[in-house]
């Protein structure tokens, strides 16, 4: 038994947790086939934790879906496996490589793996017959995400129409769908990057080691530090050197940059995030840097 709350106040982090658990339960109760999109990054790990809490001591009543770009960090895949095994949930891996081989998406050599994920994901959702897909998007990440509802309706083509979003009042979510449509659900919409770190610290949960400071062989491209890798062939003029770095986001390793950092504990990361002057995506995501509306365009097509 814990202490009594004499003033009945709930800290903002506890309020966020309660709101997210409410969303998980609502979806589990109202949708026929939900699935949790798990990238292995810190946001989807927090989602897993919240889902674990929402249904405890029962198991999470839906499977977990990961889109494997083929360019994922091995550290992230091993964390994913640990989580899935500990919670005893079913893991579905949708592979971009397979999707290319099966002609579901077309690799023209110019399109990034990140973009090829869209077709792969939509195909996996359709094949599995999933009607609701939980995503770890946060509204503080990016200005198009800041506009999205918790229940985000997708048409038969998986597309988001930002000008036609359903009103979303109080905590009364509307999960109505027509045949072929599905809902993206964002249970951690209202969390900020700092909240995520505070929560990971408080819960003491496992995240991929690449979030912590380590030595890595990196090179500079378009102002970002990228990891040396067989998937990242060097272009002329690029040179590799060893630096002390960490990752602020995890994704496709050909596009996800790292930052120089000596933060090797959660507390040190929190101190770093609290004074950061650049957004996590601005600092480290090649996919968002192409245009002002890069995220909105990808979301309309069916991105996470």
């Amino acid at each position: 038994m814990t202490q009594t709350h004499t003033d009945y106040r709930l800290s903002q982090l506890d309020q966020l947790e309660a709101e997210s658990i409410h969303i998980f339960r609502e979806v589990a109760a109202e949708f026929e086939k939900p699935v949790l999109m798990f990238s292995g990054g810190k946001d989807s790990i927090v989602m897993m934790r919240l889902a674990e809490k929402a249904f405890y001591p029962a198991k999470i009543p839906f499977p977990v879906l990961q889109v494997d770009t083929g360019y994922d960090f091995p550290e992230v895949l091993s964390t994913r496996d640990n989580w899935v095994n500990r919670l005893g949930v079913r893991l579905i891996v949708a592979s971009v490589e397979d999707a290319i081989r099966d002609g579901i998406v077309i690799d023209d050599g110019k399109t990034s793996r990140n973009r090829l994920q869209i077709g792969t994901l939509l195909n996996a959702l359709e094949e599995g017959g999933f009607t609701a897909a939980f995503g770890g998007g946060r509204r503080d990440e990016e200005k198009a995400r800041a506009k999205e509802r918790v229940y985000s309706h997708r048409d038969e083509f998986g597309q988001w129409d930002p000008k036609m979003q359903r009103p979303e009042l109080w905590s009364l979510y509307n999960g109505r769908l027509h045949e072929g449509e599905h809902m993206r659900i964002f249970p951690i919409s209202n969390w900020t990057e700092l909240d995520i770190w505070d929560y990971i610290g408080r819960e003491g949960i496992e995240i991929p080691t690449i979030y912590f400071s380590h030595q890595r062989r990196v090179f500079k491209r378009d102002g970002m530090l990228l990891s040396e890798s067989e998937h990242n062939p060097l272009r002329s003029g690029e040179t590799v050197e060893e630096r002390t770095i960490r990752f602020r986001t995890v994704g496709d390793l050909t596009l996800t940059g790292c930052v120089e950092s000596t933060a090797s504990t959660i507390d040190e990361i929190i101190d770093e995030v609290a004074v950061a002057r650049v957004t996590e995506r601005g600092a480290t995501r090649g996919d968002d840097r192409f245009s002002e509306a890069a995220m909105e365009d990808r979301k309309k097509e069916g991105y996470f």
């Binding site: 202490q3 903002q12 658990i21 109760a29 800041a146 109080w170 909240d195 957004t279």
Partner: protein, 424 residues
């Protein structure tokens, strides 16, 4: 920025409101900028866009107007959620559109707000849209209201202009339910009285907007007396380890629940005692709003999603005849005899529109009883009959058990927001 861990901070949700172009998005941009919550790459992007559009100032509204069509048209279309924190408080801002066509999105942003921030353009004073939004905020029972008289730079920071708008609004507000009102003269564009005190308005001695947001008292806005626990999800592990476990997951909507409490399950009316309250793998001694917990009962009574746990001598009366204020949000008008889907707490049912008693004129607050329908963005008092009883309270007593949404059964779209006056 944050020096206290977010774990100890409290939370204030606020929503902007007011006519198109009154400066809502600019104000939010200013608030974020002056509280140092804007990242360098975000500001650079906004400066570059402002420059390429040929503006001679940085258009701070671009910080929240995140959609392509919003930036093209220079207006807000849908709510943007933004976040910032001071050492003691985290703020969730809903920056809503002023355009009348997008009122439904304003209602979306305001429905969960603790505080409504209504802007008016000092040159224009109150408009129909500012009145409409004030009426909506009062119907939604947003407990705190700030009227920000904006663009003071364009009226020479005139005290007279401020006083006139203040008086006009105060007169209008007496007819509404607004428990707490603050009126602040600002310039969102230049930053006067937003975070920093204005040197241009020495005659104003009240708080800056930021000071007010940081100090307004919100903890007492919840109902801690009347126990209301809508059952959301039945937790049954069906594992060897937890073979007999049966818990009821939900979010506390009112009151304080404790193990040992005698409770009644509605609508069946069966009584039992709370055996334990679980928060993940811990048993806790008390649960209060807005905690998400799992409640276990001593007896094996039949409880399912849509039921409600309350106290034996303090429970809502199940009712199928609902009298409510409805904010209508779609082009096809609401008419008597219409059938709709209704969602109330964790209960879904169908509802028949029995009568539209009146339409509220948002300018005069006159009740038009001649009306035969409610058009888009109109508000009126409506009688509904539902297929199953709702376990409801007046919205004035509880914002969770007093609210519902109406859904068009053909399109699946949310078309109405309801605030219950009473059930019978």
């Amino acid at each position: 920025m944050a020096t206290v861990k977010s774990e100890q901070m409290d939370l204030l949700r606020f929503a902007t409101a007011g006519s198109v172009d009154d400066g809502k998005s600019t104000l939010i941009g200013r608030l974020l900028l002056d509280s140092k919550s804007i990242f360098e790459d975000q500001l650079e992007a906004v400066e570059a866009t402002s420059q390429s559009k040929g503006y001679d100032y940085t258009d701070l509204a671009l910080l929240t107007d995140g959609l392509r069509s919003e930036r093209e048209q220079g207006i807000t279309i849908d709510v943007a959620y933004r976040y910032f924190a001071t050492p003691t408080r985290k703020f969730i801002i809903a920056d809503t559109p002023g355009h009348v066509q997008y009122t439904r999105n304003m209602v979306t942003g305001a429905s969960t707000a603790d505080l409504g921030l209504v802007l008016v353009d000092a040159r224009q004073g109150l408009t129909e849209q500012s009145r409409r939004h004030a009426v909506i905020l009062s119907l939604l029972r947003v407990p705190h209201l700030v009227l920000a008289v904006n663009k003071m730079d364009l009226v020479n920071f005139s005290e007279e202009v401020y006083e006139k708008i203040h008086a006009e609004f105060a007169a209008f507000a007496t007819k509404l339910n607004i428990p707490d009102l603050e009126v602040i003269p600002i310039s969102a564009l230049q930053g006067d009285n937003v975070v920093n005190r204005s040197e241009n308005m020495p005659w104003y001695s009240g708080p800056t907007l930021m000071h007010h947001l940081e100090h307004v008292h919100v903890a007492s806005d919840r109902d801690l007396v009347d126990v209301r626990f809508p059952v959301q999800y039945v937790v049954r592990p069906k594992s060897d380890e937890h073979h007999d476990y049966r818990g009821y997951g939900g979010m506390v909507a009112g009151g304080v629940l404790k193990p040992g409490d005698e409770v009644v399950v509605l609508p069946s009316g069966m009584t039992s005692k709370i055996a334990a309250i679980d928060l993940f793998d811990r048993e806790i001694t008390e649960a209060f709003p807005p905690m998400s917990v799992t409640v276990r009962l001593e007896d094996d009574v039949d409880v399912s999603r849509g039921d409600m746990i309350a106290r034996v001598r303090n429970a809502p009366k199940p009712s199928q005849d609902i009298d409510a204020m409805i904010c209508w949000m779609t082009n096809e008008p609401l008419r008597p005899r219409q059938k709709l889907a209704i969602k109330h707490t964790t209960r879904s049912a169908r509802a028949l529109v029995k009568d539209i008693q009146y339409r509220l004129d948002v300018n005069t607050l006159h009740r038009d009883q001649e009306t035969k329908e409610l058009g888009v963005n109109e508000i009126g008092r409506v009688q509904l009959r539902t297929t199953v009883p709702l376990l409801c309270d007046p919205y004035s007593k509880n914002r969770t058990t007093g609210s519902f949404i109406l859904i068009d059964e053909a399109t699946g779209v949310t078309v109405g927001a309801g605030m219950i006056n009473s059930g019978s």
